[in-house]
């Protein structure tokens, strides 16, 4: 029988020819290793009239220590999609990097882009492949969002460590600060927001998460560090510029100070 080539999937090609390059290759991590590697935390995503917004804070923690104040956990994966990753930072960043190559590779081999559902399914299978590490505490849970060019609407997908894939409506958040962020999103999200309003809601939800969760970093005015925020609409993914985020974060802090609430 004629054997067909590895097809348009970069991951399948690596699996076949270069398994050493796949993320999370040493499957036997020593017990207690989970506390010794940096973990990334809160990501929020929400929809607005033209597309979606995704934002992530800048902190990575290692037990009770801040491992990084400037880590970036939201990535543009191709022109119409972004992924935000919470969990063991090293494995998470590797998976995001592989996912980005996977999408680009498919596009180059096939000459067309994967559908948004196709992209979400590929990411789900990558998370499933990481299950052995996840059971040892090195779990990686992404939040995936993008603009569906066929349905002409923004869509948000969440995952669990077994590769389960769930489509979310309106908004969603993941990571240790997500209960607080979700509470904020429930009150702040409105059905007819424009991009600027949606970005502001995302920044404020992260502020609330950082307020109550030590593993989530708030806006850092001393070091001028602001969340990483992307919008995705019919024109593609766009990273929101730092001065805009600095303005929004400063406004939020000023408004909270002025309201005089202590809790």
């Amino acid at each position: 029988m004629i054997e067909l080539g590895p097809g348009p999937s970069f991951m399948e090609y690596l699996n076949r020819d270069r398994p050493d390059l796949l993320p999370g290759a040493p499957a036997q991590a020593p017990a207690g290793a989970a506390g010794q590697v940096p973990h990334g935390t809160t990501i929020v995503a929400l929809s607005y009239t033209d597309g979606i917004v995704m934002a992530g804070d800048r902190r990575a923690t290692m037990g009770n220590v801040i491992a990084s104040r400037r880590i970036e956990k939201v990535f543009e994966t191709d022109r119409f999609s972004v992924v935000g990753i919470a969990g063991a930072a090293g494995v998470a960043i590797d998976i995001a990097k592989l996912f980005r190559v996977e999408l680009e590779h498919y596009e180059k081999i096939e000459g067309t882009r994967l559908s948004l559902d196709g992209k979400a399914n590929r990411l789900a299978s990558m998370i499933r492949a990481n299950l052995a590490l996840a059971m040892q505490g090195m779990s990686v849970v992404p939040l995936f969002a993008g603009f569906d060019t066929l349905a002409e609407t923004g869509r948000i997908f969440s995952f669990d460590i077994t590769g389960g894939l769930y489509e979310e409506v309106e908004h969603h958040s993941i990571g240790s600060g997500s209960p607080y962020a979700r509470g904020a999103l429930k009150k702040l999200w409105q059905p007819d927001m424009d991009a600027t309003a949606a970005v502001r809601v995302a920044v404020e939800a992260l502020y609330d998460a950082a307020d109550d969760d030590t593993a989530t970093g708030g806006p850092d005015a001393v070091r001028q560090l602001w969340p990483v925020v992307y919008t995705v609409d019919a024109a593609g993914a766009h990273r929101v510029e730092e001065p805009i985020l600095a303005g929004m974060a400063t406004e939020i802090i000023a408004a909270r100070t002025a309201s005089g609430k202590e809790a």
Partner: protein, 236 residues
């Protein structure tokens, strides 16, 4: 058992080369030229889906003439090579020279060892900061490789096309020209194509843009038929 006839190595290589050359000359031509806006890749190709031109990596493109199944498998192998290198080292470590030399080795190995040589001619192009920094490699069916300054013409009746091309650029500077002018010149030179907007569907055109509109790391852009028609129409 049938006796094997003796064939001298010279004759064997000549027969293989003649065989490959015949296959390549039957196909339609591809023109690749480095100009002010980037590197333009123009192929005479009425099919909208069976491409002769492809993206390999951020600043690297591929063009081929000859048998589709053979150069398509080479293109896919090139994409895999580039993506694997970029993924395991860094995006900066993927170079056109590296890719061209891998192609040269596999073409050379197939030419001498396999039952039949590849009937293809390839171009591997790497975009630089200025036209002088662009590198254009042409690769032959036997694995021979050459770096060409300015432009590459492959397939069809190459000597005639080259003469027409040089005639067009005799009093113009290719390195200072825009993509639109290069596309019009190629349409003029390619035998089956005219320079009216209706001929746009006979052309496959892509550009390695020196400056990308979206600031993306991927410089390769395929032009759609309406855009090509607009460029062809603008010359009047």
């Amino acid at each position: 058992m049938s006796a094997q006839y003796y064939v001298s190595p010279e004759q064997l290589m000549k027969d293989r080369a003649d065989f490959a050359r015949k296959g390549i000359a039957r196909g339609r031509a591809v023109i690749v030229a480095s100009c002010a806006d980037g590197i333009a890749l123009i192929a005479e190709n009425p099919s909208g889906s069976l491409h002769k031109i492809g993206e390999i990596y951020d600043r690297i493109a591929f063009a081929a003439v000859g048998k589709y199944n053979e150069f398509e498998s080479l293109r896919q192998a090139g994409v895999r090579y580039a993506d694997t290198r970029g993924y395991s080292y860094s995006r900066h470590d993927v170079t056109g020279r590296g890719l061209a030399s891998v192609y040269a080795q596999s073409l050379g190995a197939v030419f001498t060892a396999e039952a039949k040589p590849f009937e293809v001619e390839l171009a591997v192009l790497e975009l630089g900061a200025t036209p002088a920094d662009d590198t254009l490699f042409s690769l032959n069916f036997d694995g021979s490789i050459a770096e060409q300054p300015g432009y590459i013409i492959m397939g069809g009746d190459t000597p005639v096309l080259r003469e027409a091309w040089n005639g067009y650029w005799a009093d113009k500077d290719l390195a200072a020209a825009g993509t639109d002018e290069v596309i019009r010149a190629a349409a003029l030179v390619l035998p089956g194509v005219g320079v009216s907007p209706e001929d746009a569907r006979l052309l496959e055109v892509a550009v390695l843009e020196r400056v990308t509109a979206s600031g993306s790391h991927r410089h390769f852009r395929r032009l759609d038929t309406p855009t090509i028609a607009r460029f062809l129409g603008a010359g009047k």
